[in-house]
């Protein structure tokens, strides 16, 4: 289980820009994952991630208050306080880890947190099947 499984392929789920520059990923199910994963589960994961990113970038009263407070303190408040975006990013990392443990790792897949790829892609690593049957 601990031995290094060989990487068979990597699938990249690109960004979806139909709603502008907000961070959203395409929910189209990639063909390479058809043998490994259920389409519903995949879409569910991506949709939850999209919702979390939308929450991070939401223009609501909380973000306005944070912005105005930061402006008044000449932006020095960012040195001590964690921004709302960063808090949501931590939530996203936890969610991805949880999904990996519960759904993807048993199927020989691994989701990489998009923040490690500059919020450009969700990288899904497909490991070779035979190393898991040992």
């Amino acid at each position: 289980m601990r031995q290094q499984a060989a990487v068979a392929a990597k699938v990249f789920i690109q960004r979806d820009y139909t709603n502008g520059t907000v961070c959203q990923f395409q929910t189209k199910f990639p063909s390479e994952l058809e043998t490994r994963l259920d389409k519903q589960q995949f879409e569910e994961t991506v949709r939850t991630l999209n919702n979390l990113y939308a929450e991070a970038e939401k223009l609501g009263s909380q973000s306005y208050i944070e912005g105005c407070l930061a402006c008044l303190t000449a932006y020095t408040v960012f040195l001590c306080m964690e921004t709302h975006y960063e808090k949501v990013l931590k939530k996203i990392t936890k969610y991805i880890q949880e999904q990996n443990d519960k759904i993807y790792a048993p199927r020989g897949l691994l989701l990489t947190d998009p923040i490690e790829r500059g919020l450009r892609v969700i990288e899904v690593t497909i490991f070779e099947d035979r190393s898991l049957t040992r």
């Binding site: 306005y64 912005g67 000449a74 921004t83 975006y85 500059g118 892609v121």
Partner: protein, 414 residues
């Protein structure tokens, strides 16, 4: 052969970097655990172990800081005592608050990551290449790669960045000075010594607004000072000439006229710039888009062709200035995993000897020529390097890996 001493080097030995082999394990691990900013491919400088990021040339940032500090210093030293005596003690307080705000905004703009996009990993780049139709890759000019997408029911073209090996997200542009793709790229400001992009636009805007207030305030105070002095019976010129802060040999030149002159000339440009950026903020545009006319409606049917605008001035302002603060996408202070550190180290250390191992037979003439076609954005630069120039330029393997396909043809000639 006589003028270049080459040695046959076994390519397999190059996978282990020569510097690490004889050293003790403790030293190698210390050498190996490097932070990501140390191997950052763009042209930026890092300080405080990656906490502070600057462009490669600081431009005129020292001049900007110097002008602000000198003007305010002169103001506090020579105008404030008089004005506090004759008017109110709030004047230096207001000036001090504005001065602190200006300097902090300026430093935040200069030292913050503007929204640099990290370059695509090799796997990602390969995946994108697979999806693009390649048409006979042996041509020197591959067609410009664009992708059309729909944003808010409007067709927008995304361009492929050859340096970063990815399709640029909308509103992203590649800064040639910093050699990075920057999100929501506004412009590269030499006064500030950094690009202005998504993450530091609000700092830049507060800098120019507060600087407008500061220069107007100082200008007004100095005018008031001169007026008050001249009201005490003397003429204006006499008032200036008899002031205690007079420079002995040059008439009319004393310290507070210097402040006056600096303020007078900078006010027009700063106020103009503030006005321009206020317009940009209100219509959710960037300087780059405005200059290129990306959204100018040629059809004339729609008022704003900008798909990113919220069509309300207040919402646009709030979104741009008070929106959530996006995180830095380049993990500057992250520690490189050991295997990546090794590959980065060995890539930079595998130099000319690798090429000589391949072309040993032709070394006798010392006339190895390397035909490299370097793709810089949409431009192509063809370099022909001789063996001697390779030695002096220390062309590394990582450099060559960055070049486009159909490079590294080896026309070893005379």
């Amino acid at each position: 052969m006589k003028n270049c001493e080459y040695q046959q080097i076994d390519p397999r030995a190059l996978s282990v970097s020569p510097a690490s082999a004889p050293q003790s394990p403790a030293e190698t691990t210390a050498q190996r655990s490097r932070r990501k900013w140390e191997v950052f491919p763009g042209r930026n400088r890092f300080f405080c172990d990656g906490r502070i990021i600057l462009a490669s040339q600081s431009g005129v940032l020292p001049l900007t800081l110097g002008l602000i500090v000198v003007t305010c210093g002169l103001f506090f030293a020579f105008d404030c005592p008089f004005l506090v005596e004759h008017l109110t003690a709030f004047i230096p307080v207001i000036a001090a608050v504005l001065f602190v705000f200006v300097v902090i905004s300026l430093l935040r703009t200069s030292f913050t990551d503007p929204g640099i996009l990290p370059r695509a990993t090799p796997d990602e780049a390969a995946d994108i290449e697979k999806q693009i139709d390649t048409s006979g890759s042996s041509t020197y000019r591959p067609p410009p790669r664009t992708k059309e997408i729909l944003i808010n029911q409007q067709v927008v073209k995304l361009k492929y960045c050859f340096t970063c090996k990815m399709f640029r997200p909308p509103r992203t542009s590649h800064c040639s000075l910093c050699d990075n793709c920057v999100e929501r790229f506004d412009h590269h400001c030499p006064w500030v010594g950094n690009c202005v992009g998504k993450r530091n636009y609000r700092f830049f805007y507060s800098f120019i607004i507060s600087l407008s207030f500061l220069t107007s305030f100082i200008f007004g105070c100095v005018i008031t000072h001169i007026t008050l002095r001249s009201q005490a019976g003397k003429s204006l010129v006499q008032a200036v000439q008899e002031s205690p802060a007079r420079y002995p040999f040059i008439p009319m030149l004393n310290f507070y006229t210097i402040a006056l002159v600096i303020c007078f000339f900078s006010i027009w440009s700063i106020l103009g710039l503030s006005g321009f950026h206020t317009y940009l903020v209100a219509s959710n545009l960037t300087t780059n888009e405005d200059i290129k006319g990306s959204w100018s409606s040629k059809r004339g049917a729609e008022e704003s062709g900008n798909p990113h605008s919220y069509n309300s001035i207040i919402t646009n302002c709030c979104a741009t200035l008070c929106g959530p603060m996006p995180p830095s996408l380049i993990d500057r202070r992250g520690v490189l995993p050991p295997d990546e550190a090794i590959s980065a180290a060995s890539a930079s250390e595998i130099e000319l000897p690798l090429f000589t191992a391949k072309n040993d037979a032709h070394m006798n003439k010392g006339s190895l020529k390397l035909d490299i076609t370097e793709q810089l954005g949409d431009k192509k630069e063809r370099k022909v390097l001789t063996a001697r120039s390779l030695l002096s330029h220390r062309v590394t393997l990582s450099d060559c890996c960055r070049y486009r396909t159909s490079c590294l043809s080896w026309p070893v000639g005379e």
